[in-house]
Each structure stands twice: as structure tokens, then as C-alpha cells.
């Protein structure tokens, strides 16, 4: 669609902002050989928590997906749609909610104490796993649900007419499907959890539960040991590349796909199975909904009384998000080709934190890196969202070209006419969706900004993290509610804009 020169400029731009920072990290790491046992243990812990998170999310997702695929009740479609919501949910907000439920003074621990049982701590490995399951159980459920929908209806009817027992139905129909779906779900979640920085930052720490990214952050922020940060960054880079390769091998179906609302008919189920399904769905809803509910209940009322610095941070976050959205869509629109998609995926193969480290090292000789922290955040957010934007827009663009290119040639449409009458109206809807995702992702991101944000240049998620660190829980809840409203609000506005008249 875009002229060749624009494509080239966009490609060079991305190449520059992904490759150069990596080279900077590489050069910084060169010649030093200070990998201590702590660094190796960070690597081991990173892989351990990602593997466990993936396995647990998938294991729990199977009964949930099964229940959702066959249960019929009011609100089922809404629940399935909401399973896509964690994608744009600010991680730090969810963590605050999880602390409200599972934390030291949370409902669960208070309940256990009142029963005279010992409480448990949300910090450390099980906290990290809890948060990762919170975010990835819905994703795994959607992926597996998609698998259930691909079972041909005829096969289900056949199982009914042959009067399969539940066991033989599982062995002959459901298990073969699960065998093809679960590996790709496992890999996706594993990859996501490898570089999930915010969760580790808020719930990890200490020698026993430090991930690579958290170690980079600590080396950077507290030890000012850039060599060490660079070496850790290099390790994270290799890990990401290996994971990206894994993900390619287990190529997966579209995880953002909408339209999972087909209901599966297994015939009439015995009553106890309906009850089990209901309980599974209720438990999942409570696990996923209660934390957010508590954040809003504790925080909504105190939004109005938030102090000025927090509003300033919110303004910064909004501006960054709008900038990142504009930039991301601009680049995405000029990269709607096969090679462009590969190039855009670079941003996801490289962890944002490593990218931030590289940009910091690059900028250091010229400016005080802390002064450009907001610009760097904007840039990294753009690169993070780019693969999603390209993947949302490209299928529609391919469709437009396939369906209407000849007709527009036959009508002698000018380039402008083509954009105005064909591309714009047809691309508007995915454009709105992509813009919404980018804005929401960017507003809730707590990554690079944690590396080199300071008080005057904090974004809203960083402010929230600082409030949580100093146990100002009431303000934190207000701040979290505001962040939640902003990220979902922006997603909603952009998405609505795309749907209007579509």
C-alpha cells in the first residue's frame, strides 16, 4: 500500500531502534566475564517460573474451556469476550488486586488466620505463578476453546449416535484435539512469562526468586553495574531468541481471534456434570474478577482526592500512549508485507527491558539518559505493540487487495480514490482495534520507565508501583482504579471509533 520509499524508511527505522540497542548491549558486555552464581540462578529461575506458569495455566484452562464450550447460560458470550481483557489490563493493577485477595492482609490470609491456620506469603515463586496464571489462564482458555470449536460437528453427532461414554468421547475426540492445541498454548505462555518484568518486579526479589530481567533492573538501578546489566541482557536476548524459535516451530492460530461463540452440543449432560461445569466457571470468575473488583471498590472513591503529582503522571502516561499509538500505526501501515511482518516481530523477540538497557547505553555519551526516559518509553511501547498492529491490519489489507484491486483498476481509480473509497473504509475497523490495543498496552506498561524514570518523569504505572512500595494502599487503590479506567477507556474509544459506520 505505502510507496516503496516509505516502506524502506520504516524498515530502516525499526532496524535501527532494535539492532543498535542490542549492539550497544553486546559491546558493553564484551570482555567482561563476571557471571556469578547469582546470575546463573536468575537464568534457572526465569526458566523454572515460565515453565511452571505455562503448565499450570494450561492444566487449569482445560476444565474451564471444556465447561465454557458446552455450558449454555446467559452471559456466556460476554465471559468469553472478557477472557481477552487481560491482554490490555495493566499488570501492576492486577497485582494490586491479587495482593488484596492473596496478600498478607488479604481475604484468604485473614480467613486462614481466623481458622487458626498459618497464612502464606504472596511474595516469591508462588506469587509470581499466581499472577502469571491470572494473566495466562484466560489466554490458554481462549486457545483451547478455539480447539474445541474446530472439532467437526459431524464427529460430535457421530459420537452421540454411537452412544459414546464420556470416557471414550474424551479419548477419541477431545484428547486428539487437545494434543494439537496444548503444545502451542504452552509455548506462547512460556514465551510471555520469560520476559514478564512487572510481575517479577512487584512479587519477586531476593536471591531465591529473581528473574533475569529483575536482575538487569537491579544491576542497573541499584548497583550501577552496566557491564553486569549488559551480560544479563545478553542472556535474556539468547533466551528470547530461543523462545521465539520455539514459538515459530509451534506456529499457533490467531490468538486475538474473535468469534468463539459457537456452542458445542454434546447432547444432554447428566446433572452432576452441569454442576461441575457451573462450579468451575464460578471459581474461575471469582479468581479473575475478585481482584479487579476489589481494586475498584477500594479505589474508585479516592480517585477524586488523588494529589496533583499523580494526575501529572496520568497526563504523561496518556501523552505517551497517544504518541506511541500514532507512531505504531504509522509504521504498521507502511509495513503491511510479509517481510514487514517478520521485521515487526523483532520487537517482540527482544525483551523491552533489554531494548531499554541498550537505548540507555547508546544515549549515555550524549545526554543524561534520565532526561529522555519518556521518549524512550514511547519508542519501546511502539515497538512492543507493532507486531500486534501489523498482525491485525495485514490480513484485512491482503483481503482488500485480493478482492478489489482488479475492480479499482477497471474503474481507473487514482491512488487517492483507492485510499479514500476502498482502503480507508475497510481498514478503519481493524485500525481502531489496533489503536485501542496499542494505547491500552502503552498506558499500562511498567517496563523501561522503571529502569530510568525519576520522580519528575514518572508515568502512572510507576507512580502506582512506588505507592505500593511505600504501603500507601489507599492512594495506590485510587491510582490503580484511575489506570484501569484509562487503559480500558482508551481501548474502548478507539475500538468504537473503528466500528462506527463499519
Amino acid at each position: 500500500m505505502a510507496p516503496r520509499i516509505v516502506q524502506i524508511i520504516a524498515s530502516v527505522l525499526i532496524g535501527t531502534f532494535v539492532i543498535l540497542p542490542l549492539l550497544a548491549v553486546w559491546r558493553q558486555a564484551e570482555g567482561t566475564n563476571s557471571l556469578g552464581p547469582a546470575d546463573w540462578s536468575a537464568l534457572r529461575f526465569t526458566i523454572l517460573q515460565a515453565s511452571l506458569s505455562a503448565v499450570l495455566s494450561c492444566v487449569l484452562a482445560v476444565p474451564l474451556a471444556r465447561a465454557l464450550s458446552r455450558a449454555r447460560f446467559f452471559g456466556r458470550d460476554l465471559i468469553i469476550k472478557l477472557l481477552g481483557a487481560p491482554f490490555i489490563l495493566p499488570v501492576i493493577v492486577a497485582i494490586l488486586g491479587l495482593i488484596a485477595v492473596f496478600g498478607h492482609n488479604g481475604w484468604i490470609n485473614l480467613g486462614l488466620k481466623s481458622l487458626g491456620l498459618g497464612g502464606f506469603s504472596i511474595y516469591g515463586l508462588h506469587g509470581i505463578l499466581l499472577a502469571h496464571i491470572f494473566f495466562n489462564l484466560p489466554l490458554a482458555t481462549r486457545l483451547i476453546l478455539l480447539g474445541w470449536e474446530t472439532i467437526p460437528k459431524e464427529r460430535l453427532r457421530l459420537s452421540q449416535s454411537l452412544a459414546f461414554t464420556p470416557v471414550s468421547r474424551f479419548c477419541l475426540i477431545e484428547w486428539p484435539m487437545l494434543k494439537t492445541v496444548i503444545p502451542s498454548a504452552l509455548v506462547v505462555i512460556f514465551v510471555i512469562c520469560l520476559s514478564s518484568f512487572t510481575v517479577a518486579l512487584a512479587l519477586g526479589g531476593g536471591p531465591k526468586s529473581t528473574t533475569l530481567e529483575l536482575a538487569i533492573y537491579q544491576a542497573f538501578r541499584f548497583e550501577f553495574d552496566f557491564e553486569k546489566a549488559a551480560i544479563l541482557g545478553l542472556m535474556q536476548m539468547c533466551l528470547s531468541l530461543a523462545a521465539a524459535y520455539l514459538a515459530l516451530v509451534f506456529a499457533l492460530t490467531d490468538q486475538l481471534g474473535i468469534g468463539l461463540d459457537r456452542n458445542i452440543h454434546f447432547g444432554s449432560l447428566p446433572i452432576w456434570q452441569n454442576i461441575v461445569d457451573g462450579v468451575v466457571i464460578m471459581l474461575a470468575l471469582m479468581f479473575l474478577g475478585l481482584p479487579l473488583f476489589l481494586v475498584l471498590v477500594n479505589g474508585l472513591s479516592s480517585i477524586a482526592s488523588l494529589p496533583l503529582p499523580i494526575w501529572m503522571a496520568a497526563l504523561r502516561s496518556v501523552l505517551i500512549a497517544l504518541g506511541a499509538t500514532a507512531l505504531c500505526l504509522l509504521i504498521a501501515l507502511s509495513l503491511l508485507s510479509r517481510s514487514g511482518e517478520v521485521l515487526a516481530t523483532l520487537g517482540i523477540a527482544v525483551s523491552p527491558l533489554v531494548l531499554g538497557t541498550g537505548l540507555f547505553l547508546m544515549a549515555r555519551p550524549f545526554v543524561n539518559p534520565f532526561e529522555i526516559s519518556l521518549a524512550v518509553t514511547l519508542l519501546v511501547n511502539t515497538l512492543m505493540a507493532l507486531p500486534f498492529a501489523v498482525r491485525i491490519l495485514r490480513p484485512e489489507m491482503i483481503q482488500i487487495n485480493a478482492n478489489f484491486n482488479r475492480l479499482s483498476l477497471a474503474l481507473g481509480m487514482s491512488r487517492l480514490g483507492w485510499v479514500r473509497w476502498v482502503v480507508w473504509p475497510r481498514l478503519r475497523r481493524p485500525l481502531g482495534f489496533a489503536a485501542g490495543l496499542t494505547a491500552a498496552l502503552s498506558i499500562g506498561d511498567l517496563g523501561v520507565i522503571a529502569l530510568f524514570g525519576d520522580a519528575e518523569r514518572a508515568t502512572l504505572p510507576l507512580k502506582l508501583y512506588q505507592l505500593m512500595g511505600s504501603y500507601r494502599m489507599e492512594q495506590a487503590a485510587g491510582c490503580a482504579s484511575l489506570l484501569l479506567l484509562l487503559s480500558f477507556g482508551f481501548f474502548w474509544i478507539f475500538d468504537m471509533w473503528g466500528r462506527r459506520n463499519a
Binding site: 483498476l409 474503474l411 479514500r420 473509497w421
Partner: protein, 236 residues
């Protein structure tokens, strides 16, 4: 008149030679086995495919190098003849203008064209709100407004039921006669060919044969066509 002078088409190892000295303002059917290159021929004539060699003449002028919109041809494809997000009126209007504002005269012409195909009053509907037959009519209305002397049809009415299709064929025939247009219509149904095309071109074995009277051709089909049609196909 249209002249195909040794047109050689080449696509994925598939070759088609067309040498047809004269096609006048009539309706011609284009028949032949599946995959013989009927659609390819039309796409090449309309300028969507480069020629390997040969030349195409219209009224004695060479048009081989012209772009699709510059050729004296309008084409109806198998599908995607309309933009689904635009109203019928706008779809038709795109034949003459890409501006948002449409002149009064053009608007009148659009109304006339829509009325001529039997869609008066449906101009503000989008294709999704129209039936299959009505969608074909909108496309025909646009072709009317494009006002080209040659019309290429790549089975655009295929998805319609028999009665609707016959309606469309009859409408097409009267429009073509009114305007003295040259129509090339791909079809695999001998009844369609017999209904409106006096002459038929056969595409088979890598060549396009010159037109033959349809009735005669179907009564004594050459072997390749006979195999494709089957024994009972032409029995009425």
C-alpha cells in the same frame, strides 16, 4: 470491431493462443472445458495480464499497451463486482467520478441507469441489503454508466438461480442491443449460450477458435467440447 492478432498468453506453464480476426457488435459466448483458459482470456483482454506476444486492436487502433481503465472495455468478474461498504448509488457513481460531490447531471444518469436495470429507489441500499440478483443489477448499472463499447462477463450470474439468471441474461441482451455493444460472456451452460449468443468462441487445447454459430456448434460439437458437454447437454 475487435481483433486478436496472435495473442499468446503464458501463465504457470499454461499457454493459450488466440487469433480471432473479427468480432463485431454482437453477443458471443465463450465456452470450453474447465481450466482451458476462458477467464484467463478475458482477464488478458481487459488488461489485467501481460501478453507474451501478439497485439490487440479496437477499431483499427492498437490497444495492447493500454491500462485496464483506458481500454474500451468494462468487465464483470465472478464476484467482488461491488464495494460492500458503499451504497449502490456510490458504487455506480465510481464509474464516472471519485469525488465525493456528484454533479446533478451525473446523479440523474445514475438514477436512470438504476431505473433501467429495475432498481429505481434502491440507490441508498448497501450491497449486503440487496439480494444476489439485485447486486448483479447494480453492477450492470455501473457498466451502463461506464459506457464502454465492449463488455466482458466472467460468469457473473453464476450464483443466481435459473429464473433470476435468465432475467439477467435477457436484460443483458436488451442492453447490449440498445447500445450496439460487443459482449464476450464466459459460460459453461449451453442453454445460456443458446439463449442470447448467436455465436460462440471455443477455448480448448491451448487455442481460442474463431466464432461459430452457437446452435450449429452445439449440435455438432468438436471433440474437446463434446467431452466437456457430455451426451445430453444440448438436448432441449
Amino acid at each position: 470491431m475487435l481483433e486478436m492478432q496472435n495473442l499468446l498468453l503464458h501463465q504457470d506453464g499454461f499457454k493459450l493462443l488466440a487469433c480471432v480476426p473479427y468480432l463485431g457488435p454482437k453477443i458471443y459466448a465463450v465456452m470450453g472445458p474447465s481450466g482451458a483458459g476462458k477467464s484467463t482470456l478475458l482477464l488478458a483482454l481487459a488488461g489485467f495480464m501481460p501478453l507474451e506476444s501478439g497485439a490487440l486492436y479496437w477499431q483499427g487502433q492498437e490497444i495492447t499497451a493500454c491500462r485496464p481503465a483506458e481500454r474500451p472495455m468494462a468487465m464483470l468478474f465472478q464476484d467482488n463486482n461491488l464495494f460492500p461498504h458503499l451504497t449502490a448509488e456510490r458504487n455506480v457513481a465510481l464509474a464516472v467520478t471519485q469525488r465525493k460531490a456528484v454533479s446533478l447531471q451525473t446523479r440523474k444518469n445514475i438514477q436512470t441507469a438504476l431505473a433501467r436495470v429495475g432498481l429505481g429507489g434502491l440507490g441508498s441500499s448497501k450491497p449486503g441489503q440487496l439480494s444476489g440478483g439485485q447486486q448483479s443489477r447494480v453492477a450492470l448499472a455501473r457498466v451502463l454508466l461506464q459506457d464502454k463499447p465492449i463488455l466482458l462477463l466472467d460468469e457473473p450470474f453464476n450464483a443466481l438461480g435459473p429464473a433470476l439468471k435468465n432475467d439477467m441474461l435477457d436484460l443483458l441482451q436488451s442492453l447490449a442491443q440498445e447500445r450496439q455493444a460487443l459482449v464476450l460472456m464466459v459460460t459453461h451452460n449451453p442453454q445460456d449460450a443458446l439463449r442470447i449468443a448467436q455465436e460462440t468462441l471455443v477455448v480448448s487445447d491451448g487455442t481460442v477458435s474463431p466464432p461459430m454459430p452457437t446452435a450449429q456448434l452445439l449440435a455438432e460439437p468438436p471433440s474437446a467440447l463434446a467431452a466437456y458437454l457430455g451426451n445430453n447437454a444440448t438436448r432441449r
